[in-house]
Each structure stands twice: as structure tokens, then as C-alpha cells.
Symmetry: C2
Subunit: 317 residues, 2 copies
């Protein structure tokens, strides 16, 4: 299933069948106290409890299973300073093939450790896009590994879409489904799942105001670059790609930006009230509800807690 | 069901029937990475995800439901600087009766807030046992509320026993079941559940070395006082009572003490690898496995993550 086109309903169903059993079907939590504070019904899909601690393992697993037979043994390569790298590393390990992860030397120690612990080969580079791409090209040329882009890849998008599919299968037609947006892999997949499995559910993208390139892209009608993003959400620094932008533009209800303070408050609320560890990027969806209480009053709102990989030495409070 | 004697199998089953639906049946998590590091099969019962964030809500709910009819409307009183106070407060609120919680003025702000938010009346006192007891006696005399002791109470013990019952129902005969020990309510209940529902399972009490009064009590054959306990585990500072000591002495396999460093390392492992928030007192069980790897090699080990109420401003790393 190496998808050349936008995933269809059939593709997403097939993707889900394929990766089920290899990924966790993560639980959906709710919190009476948050529901009563915010006067709506919130449902939290806990992808922080997914393998490697992030939804990225869905797309990565599908991508590794989808490698063309002739290329399979040569493995997969990607560049990532975050969860996608770890996800590709583990998904490759599960199939006993090599993984090559290009990472900036400046990446957090904890992320390097994770990728290493899954047995992938790390190639360090300077923290610029050019250095990343050069290092990647080199390793691909040398090893024959297949490059798996973190989001500008229809197979990855189909994999991430299985998360929204699980939510809608379990909860039926929600009023809203909120997902964070960085490169747009999760949001575009969520848009497709809502379109196919619950068209009455409105999908909202949640974005930090300090990295509002997706919001601006929708307004301008073309991909706007993410220049010097300033946010604690290290998973949401990248900009949309052609594939994710096209799907999001066509299907999303809106993108809502939120302040840094609200993101931190939302993150803390989740830790304190729900007793689970989420990373800042995962808290952006709840921040959207905190800043727009009226909009969600009395509604049934699903949100994707995208990941839980956070440096416990550097908490924002 | 105001129990005058040690709970029987029938009592615990009835207690469970009674409180089911009012408490969460908390999930049991496992972690591939922890299993592979420790070379055994660990099962974590997530009472940090219980209402009020601790197993204490089980016993409190049963105790409130068991108040004698004539006394019911007058409510419940207790002294507690921790989770038991919050549990009684919420359980009373759910039944629309008053709760009176005696707390030392020095209790953490976050615990005061929790008890207040459940609508209980807080009576502040000096942080000595004598001051606590005097304040409690006064409020009981004044209001006619029934005193619910945090652990020297067979109804409370039967309520806490439902946690071990759920574990053994789901997982069958474990080799070991580990629970932290402070006053002994959870450990004595766990001992009874193992005795009745899986007699081949050995129950181990986990205790900080800096508060090893339960360990010493078993060795001496009589309750030893907890004098100046020095541990980060604020839930494990109290000593055993007559009722809990008797049950534990008869039924526990052993009590194992652990170093503070190991407790902190265990707590951090749970946060980082399992993405859930647990308090130090809950991490003591995993610390026992960390310090005694050989003993648990290849075994199936259940452990109770007793609570998740922790001040996020004061993490131990």
C-alpha cells in the first residue's frame, strides 16, 4: 500500500486492518471535573499511551509494512528530531530491517536515546533544513534505504487517519474533533476520517499562535512558511506540505490559534486532573476549548492527545 | 455493612458489588520496555486514575454507603492530610451528606484545595496527633458525624480489598502482588483478596527504608511506632493499627524496604515510560522490583499504583 494518491475510505479501512495488532488501540479518557469546568463533554484519545509515546507510530508502522518488496531489506531513512524518528526506528526494528535517522546535533538528549534504544543508526547534522536534506540524500544513496517523509506522504497520512477512525467508531458522531497541526499529517488524516466515517463531525486544527503558519496558509490559500516559530510545542514547528495542505484546505472546518500561556495551563490541567503525561504539542487542543468556551458549550468534543514525550527536567511551570 | 470483624470472602464480594458503578474499574497497564529491562511480566493497576486520584476512594465509598441509617444525614468526619480526606469528602458529596475533615494547617495547599472543591468542611489544627484527635472529637461531638478512620476500620479494609480482587479476576494467579504499606489499609485488604481469590499469589508489602515501621513490626511481632519517618512518600508516614497489623501478620508473604533513590528512579520510570502521573508512594512497589531483580525474574508480578496526587511544582528530580 504505497499510496500515490489521496487515501480513499477503503485505503484507510485497509490501513487500519493492517496495523491493528501492531499498534495499541489507545484508550479514550474523560474527566468529570474538566467536563464540569468547561460545561461540555470532552473525550481525550490518549496517543501519549501509543507505542513510542506518540500517534506517529501509526503512520510509521504502515509505511514500513508498505515498503516495496524489492527495497524492503534495505530499510527506511528519515530526518526527524522528534517522534517520527523514534517511530520509524521502532517500526523498522519490529520487522528486522535497518533504519537511518538524520537528527540535528542539537536534538534533546532524551530523543536521541529513544532512537538509539530502538537500534536505529543516527546520522547527526547541523540544525538547518539544508544540512538535514543533504545528510539524508547521502545516506539514502549509500544504503538504498527508502525515504519516509514525516507527513508529505499519503501512506503516512492514511496511517495517522486510523486514530480519528478509532475515535469516531467508538463515540459516533461528535460535534467537533480537534487535532494539533504542525506539518499536518495528523490533521489531514483526521479530516479524511471524519469525511468518510462521520461527515457531520467538524474537524478543527489547533495551532500555537507563535507558530501559526497553518492558520495563515488557510487564510492566504497557499502554504505559508513557518519562520522563526516561537512556541513550547516542539512537535508543531514545521509547516504544511503540498499533500497535507491540499487535504486540510478542502476538509477542515477551521484552524484556531492559542496563546502559549493557555497551552501550558491546558497541559498542567491534563497532568493534574487526568494523571497522564502529555507533551505541550498535545495540550494545544484543550487550549482551544479553554480559549473558546462558548463555542463548545454543551457539545461533544473529541481531541487527540498526540504524544507524551517530554523532558521531565524542563517542565514549563 | 458496618463490619465489626475481619471481612470474609463474602463481605469483599458484596462490597465490590456495592461500590461498582460508583468507583472506576481502573485499567491495568503493562510496559514492554519495563518488562524487557526487568525480565519479568509487570502489571500495573492504575489507581492513580481512580476518582480523587487514589485507591482511597474505594474504602471511603463503601464506608459512606455503610453509615447506619439513623446517623446517615449527620455525615462523616475524619482526620487526614492526604487522599483519605479527599475521598471521604467526595464520597459524602455524592450522597449529599456533610463531611468534616480535620487537617493540619501545614498540609499541602493542593490537598486543601481538593477537599474544599468537594464541598467538605475543613477544620484546621496543629500538626500533632494530639491536636488532630482533639479537633476530631470536638467536631464529632458537635455534629454527630460518624468518624471514619483511614485504615483501622474493617469496612475501609473491605473497600480497599476490591482493588486486589479486580486484579486477580483479570489476571488470574499472579506469582506476586505488591502493594505499598503505610497504615496498612491497602496492604491488609490486598492480603485478604489474595487469600480468598488466589491463595497461590504471594503478597508483598513495599515500604520506604526511611519509614520501615511495618517491616520492624513484623519482625518484632508487635506494632512498632513510626518515629520521625524520613521519606518522600507522604502517603506512607503512618504506622500500622491493630486491625491492619493482625491481618498483615497472618497473611503477608513479606515486607521489603527500599531506598529513597530507588523510589525516585521508579517514579520517574513510570512517568517516562508509561506516561502516567503517579505519586512517590505509588512508586515504592516498582522500587521493590528494581532492587530485587533476581527474585522476580520470569515471574508475573502485579502491583498497585496507589495514587497520582503530586505537587507538580515540587518534583524530586
Amino acid at each position: 500500500m504505497f499510496l500515490q494518491y489521496e487515501p480513499s475510505k477503503h485505503h484507510i479501512t485497509q490501513a487500519h486492518d493492517w496495523i491493528q495488532g501492531r499498534i495499541h488501540r489507545t484508550p479514550i479518557f474523560s474527566s468529570k471535573s474538566l467536563n464540569s469546568i468547561l460545561e461540555c463533554k470532552l473525550y481525550f484519545k490518549c496517543e501519549n499511551l501509543q507505542k513510542v509515546g506518540a500517534f506517529k507510530y501509526r503512520g510509521a508502522t504502515l509505511a514500513i509494512l508498505s515498503l516495496p518488496k524489492t527495497e524492503f531489506k534495505k530499510g527506511a531513512a528519515t530526518h526527524s528530531s522528534g517522534n517520527h524518528g523514534a517511530a520509524i526506528a521502532l517500526a523498522a526494528k519490529m520487522r528486522n530491517i535497518p533504519a537511518y535517522i538524520v537528527m540535528p546535533r542539537s536534538a534533546p538528549h532524551i530523543k536521541k536515546l529513544a532512537v538509539e534504544s530502538y537500534g536505529a543508526k543516527i546520522i547527526y547534522c547541523e540544525p538547518t533544513l539544508q544540512a538535514r536534506e543533504e545528510a539524508l540524500e547521502k545516506i539514502v544513496a549509500k544504503t538504498g534505504a527508502t525515504f519516509v517523509h514525516p507527513y508529505d506522504n499519503f501512506t503516512i497520512i492514511a496511517g495517522q487517519a486510523t486514530c480519528g477512525k478509532e475515535i469516531l467508531e467508538e463515540l459516533g458522531a461528535l460535534d467537533y474533533l480537534i487535532a494539533p497541526v504542525g506539518g499536518g499529517g495528523l490533521l489531514s488524516g483526521t479530516c479524511l476520517s471524519a469525511k468518510y466515517f462521520s461527515p457531520e463531525t467538524k474537524v478543527i486544527g489547533a495551532e500555537p499562535l507563535g507558530a501559526d503558519d497553518a492558520f495563515r496558509s488557510l487564510r492566504e490559500g497557499s502554504i505559508q512558511p513557518s519562520v522563526n516559530p516561537k512556541t513550547i510545542c516542539d512537535g508543531l514547528l514545521t509547516q504544511l506540505s503540498e499533500k497535507t495542505f491540499t487535504i486540510i484546505q478542502k476538509n477542515v472546518s477551521e484552524i484556531i490559534t492559542v496563546e502559549e500561556e493557555t497551552i501550558i495551563a491546558a497541559m498542567r490541567m491534563i497532568w493534574e486532573r487526568m494523571k497522564i503525561v502529555v507533551e505541550p504539542s498535545a495540550a494545544v487542543s484543550l487550549a482551544v476549548v479553554l480559549e473558546n468556551k462558548k463555542k463548545f458549550l454543551g457539545k461533544r468534543v473529541g481531541m487527540i492527545l498526540s504524544g507524551g514525550n517530554v523532558d521531565l527536567e524542563k517542565l514549563p511551570w
